[in-house]
Amino acid sequence: MELLPVLVLNGLVWGLIVALIALGLSIIFGLLDFVNVAHGDFFMVGAVLAWVLIAGTGNFWIAFAIVPVIGLILGSLIERGVLKPVENDASLSIVASFGLSLILQEGVRATYGATPKRILDPLGVTVPVFGFEYEVYRLFAAGVSVIAIAGFFLFLQRTKFGTWMRAVRQDREMAIAMGVPSDRIFMVTFGLGTAMAMLGGVVAAPLTSVEFRLGLDVLPLCFIAVIIGGLGNLPGTAAAAVLLSVLEGFITSIAEPTTARIISLVIMSVVLLVRPQGIFTRVTA
């Protein structure tokens, strides 16, 4: 029970990282109108690339700087090459993203191997928190997620591109009629979503063991956050991710982690039945 504050803090840190990843999923859904089943695997690829870069250069910060850029480029290329041809059919897009997920997982297994690997804490410093020595890196990870999420919302609100993205989300046809370059928007949106997942991967890599199945654990978490927050509701998604993880932290202090996970899943099922639009979305129309 004396572990409670630490578990809740861990939940908060993890929740912020999940919020970052889930936002990527949500923005892709909001604009391209399909659920990206490969999103968790982009997270995994981010973590794996971090491991590879650290093994090559010995420096975490190089990985931290490069991987999101790789994500942006990779995501844009994939949108152009793979998703564009099927963009008019949501089911086909989802199936295509499942194909991507297969390719990413098996590709990583073929090159990186199937054994889980660990990354050393890049800071290696602890501070006393509630009487425990707490890793500073976890606080750093939470900070990075907060800054990235805030930066993303600023980008949406304050830049021309962000305004275009919001316009396409609201009314695609009208936006296109007003001259918004929708093709480019879709490409950049998918690139951004991918970059967010891969940034999440780098940040989370030192906190977990890195392996090719990592995405399979994260994807359901993002799904739960997206459902509870409201599919396509960006602030709702972020809030739901954080709330859920803190709740799981609470429950973990009195029960097993699996029980905590099962409780979140049950909460999601109930939300889905009672408020399918999410708890943070007001019903319009």
């Binding site: 659920v35 089943v37 199936v95 499942f98 297969l102 098996e106």
Partner: protein, 333 residues
């Protein structure tokens, strides 16, 4: 129309004859492999029924395959039922599990439906893997049959020790399931479901109970997946927790879509292609699934209705052109 009607009657007969003759041509391990293709093909058909005929992109079919295995094991170990009873129990388990889960899933649409099916699978796997609730999960999920199952038919008793019998038994039950699926999809119920798939609001306007029909189809398809599960236990004498995972449903989805999800033969063709190439490729290249991912993307790009359906259409067009040419020549004379 005449040609098509004839094709419908001839194709199953040819397939049945081919199945009957298979033990004459194939050696034992090939027979077992063929039976395995039929079982996994039936599993892919379960996805095809839900997605290709009902328009529901489900990642939950593995749950019902797993439930079939579970029901079989429960009946065998706890209640000591024979093979027929265990098969029945597997079916009951799959359908009984599909009724509530399908009710939750089919109430929501498209993206939510997909997410719900994934989450239901994750939830079930989490419960079964957690190590709590041993009385549910414990002895019935991951298990190997310690004996060779026998099947009493009339006064005779057949053993799965014979590969020939194992193949015939599997093929017969798969044929019955496909026949049922064919009856169902060509019935007014199947037509109504296709109407819902193509335009839900219009279907609702003409008075179809959309949610109920979707739920019924989902439950029927779950029964098909459950049958595949029980047949798998009988053939492989082995079950595993991973059969419940949503990535297993993903395999059925890939096979069914590559083959053609909106036909009955497409999922079997896709799964046969998957398993045969996997069998040969995995000797040289462990991660052959990458190639299937790529193949899937190519199929989606160029033949989104699936390879089997595309090939069948090409063949029909070619046949029609051939017929027209013959007709034209006849008129010249």
């Amino acid at each position: 129309m005449n040609g098509r009607a004839r094709g419908v009657a001839v194709a199953p007969l040819v397939l049945l004859l081919a199945a009957a003759a298979a033990p004459l041509v194939l050696v034992n391990y090939q027979l077992v492999f063929l039976a395995e293709i039929l079982i996994w093909g039936l599993f892919a058909l379960s996805f095809g029924l839900v997605y290709g005929f009902g328009g529901m992109l489900s990642f939950a079919q593995a749950l019902y395959f797993g439930a079939g295995c579970y029901g079989f094991n429960l009946a065998t170990y706890k209640y000591g039922l024979g093979t027929w009873g265990a098969i029945g129990a597997g079916l009951v388990a799959a359908v009984a599990f599909a009724i509530p889960t399908g009710y939750i899933a089919t109430r929501v649409r498209q993206h939510h439906f997909l997410i719900v099916t994934v989450i239901l699978s994750v939830l079930t796997s989490a419960v079964l893997a957690s190590g709590h609730w041993r009385w549910i999960a414990g002895p019935y999920v991951t298990r190997s049959l310690p004996f060779v199952p026998t099947v009493p038919i009339g006064p005779w008793e057949f053993s799965f020790g014979s590969e020939t019998f194992a193949f015939y038994f599997t093929a017969a039950l798969v044929a019955v399931a496909v026949w049922l699926a064919a009856r169902l999809t060509s019935s007014p119920f199947g037509t109504a479901l296709r109407a819902i798939r193509d335009n839900e609001s219009r279907a609702a306007l003409v008075g179809l109970n959309v949610n109920l029909l979707r739920w019924l189809m989902f439950t029927f398809a779950a029964g098909i997946a459950g049958l595949a599960g029980t047949l798998y236990v009988l053939l492989a004498r082995y079950t595993n927790l991973e059969f419940f995972e949503w990535t297993y449903s993903g395999k059925a989805a890939v096979a069914a879509i590559v083959g053609g999800a909106s036909s009955l033969a497409g999922p079997f063709a896709g799964m046969a292609f998957y398993l045969v190439t996997a069998e040969y490729l995995s000797r040289y290249f462990q991660q052959f699934a990458i190639l299937f991912g790529i193949l899937l993307l190519v199929v989606l790009r160029f033949a989104p209705e699936g390879l089997y359906v595309a090939a069948a259409r090409l063949a029909r067009d070619a046949y029609a052109r051939f017929g027209q040419r013959r007709l034209a020549r006849g008129e010249e004379r």
